[in-house]
């Protein structure tokens, strides 16, 4: 591996290799981030419901 440009070029297959890695990165990050966010909103919603029940 002589230079960064050469590394990114991947012997002419750069666009194939990096698009494959890029799609994998995006899919794998989303598949964790989305349920983590749902967890936060779910807990907030359940807490609100619990408080409302207590008040009534």
């Amino acid at each position: 591996m002589n230079s960064l440009a050469e590394f990114l070029h991947m012997g002419g297959y750069g666009s194939y290799v990096w698009s494959a890695y890029g799609i994998a990165l995006v899919a794998m990050v989303l598949a964790i981030i989305v349920p983590l966010r749902q967890h936060t909103s779910l807990r907030q919603r359940l807490t609100r419901q619990l408080k409302r029940k207590k008040e009534s």
């Binding site: 290799v17 799609i23 598949a31 807490t47 619990l50």
Partner: protein
């Protein structure tokens, strides 16, 4: 050990334990991922036939393995839920489906991107590719069926039966490259004699496979926690948990 497994099946224990385990699992995933990527993209030499394009293997093959592995976990835990009515088994089954679908999608897409320069086509209706596409539809069917049924315990039983019927596709995918004359190359690593791949390429590949397995663990725990919280929202332990907030 048995006691631990027994405890783990209880939703409040599982919720607390998984919360503590997640950061450690994520760290383990990062370690295997970093070695796998460095070894695969930098250290390993180019393939003598495919040049640098073969480096897609480091996501394609582990993703394809995971697509099969997660399906089996989903079907088996679905069966356990069906037979013994263990709530956590139902939750593990349905929480596995989106991650399995994601890996199946990745196996198909990275395979397609790899196929273009090597085979000259993005897609071919041959046995390996078609049966893997059927696997994606099975995952999507499981998710859709689960969402269509309001009562989640009934939904889990329906989903388990669908997943078990779909198991027939798993050996078809695995043996497709041997049973039919396919465009897809034969197995490289899982041959009973010597694997036909050099150690400098094999080690990063195995490291990526371990990383993806641990990633599945992380994703499974994250989703199972949501599912448990949702299902058990009216029980004492969830109320206690939320009480502190």
């Amino acid at each position: 050990m048995m006691r631990f497994i027994h405890q783990l099946a209880s939703p409040p224990f599982f919720y607390r334990f998984s919360g503590k385990a997640l950061p450690w699992l994520f760290g383990l995933f990062a370690l295997f991922l970093i070695y796998g990527l460095y070894g695969g993209l930098v250290l390993a030499p180019a393939d003598y036939q495919q040049g640098e394009s073969y480096r897609i293997i480091y996501i394609h093959v582990p993703a394809a393995w995971m697509s099969l592995f997660i399906y089996m976990v989903m079907a088996i835990s679905g069966a356990i839920g069906l037979i013994w009515r263990i709530k956590l088994a139902e939750v593990v089954a349905i929480s596995s489906a989106p991650i399995g679908a994601m890996f199946t999608f990745l196996a198909l897409v990275t395979g397609s991107i790899w196929g273009k320069p090597m085979w000259g086509t993005w897609w071919e209706w041959e046995a390996r590719l078609t049966s893997e596409l059927v696997l994606l539809f099975l995952y999507l069917g499981v998710i859709a069926l689960y969402n269509a049924v309001e009562d989640k315990r009934i939904a889990s039983r329906a989903v388990a039966i669908l997943a078990l019927v779909g198991v027939v596709n798993i050996p078809i995918i695995h043996y497709s490259v041997e049973w039919w004359n396919t465009l897809h190359q034969g197995p490289t690593v899982t041959k009973f004699d010597k694997p036909s791949i050099h150690l400098s390429m094999l080690l990063p590949l195995l490291s990526m496979a371990v990383a993806f397995k641990v990633y599945y663990g992380v994703g499974l725990l994250v989703r199972a926690r949501n599912e448990l919280l949702q299902r058990e929202r009216n029980t004492g332990w969830v109320r206690e948990l939320l009480h502190d907030e």
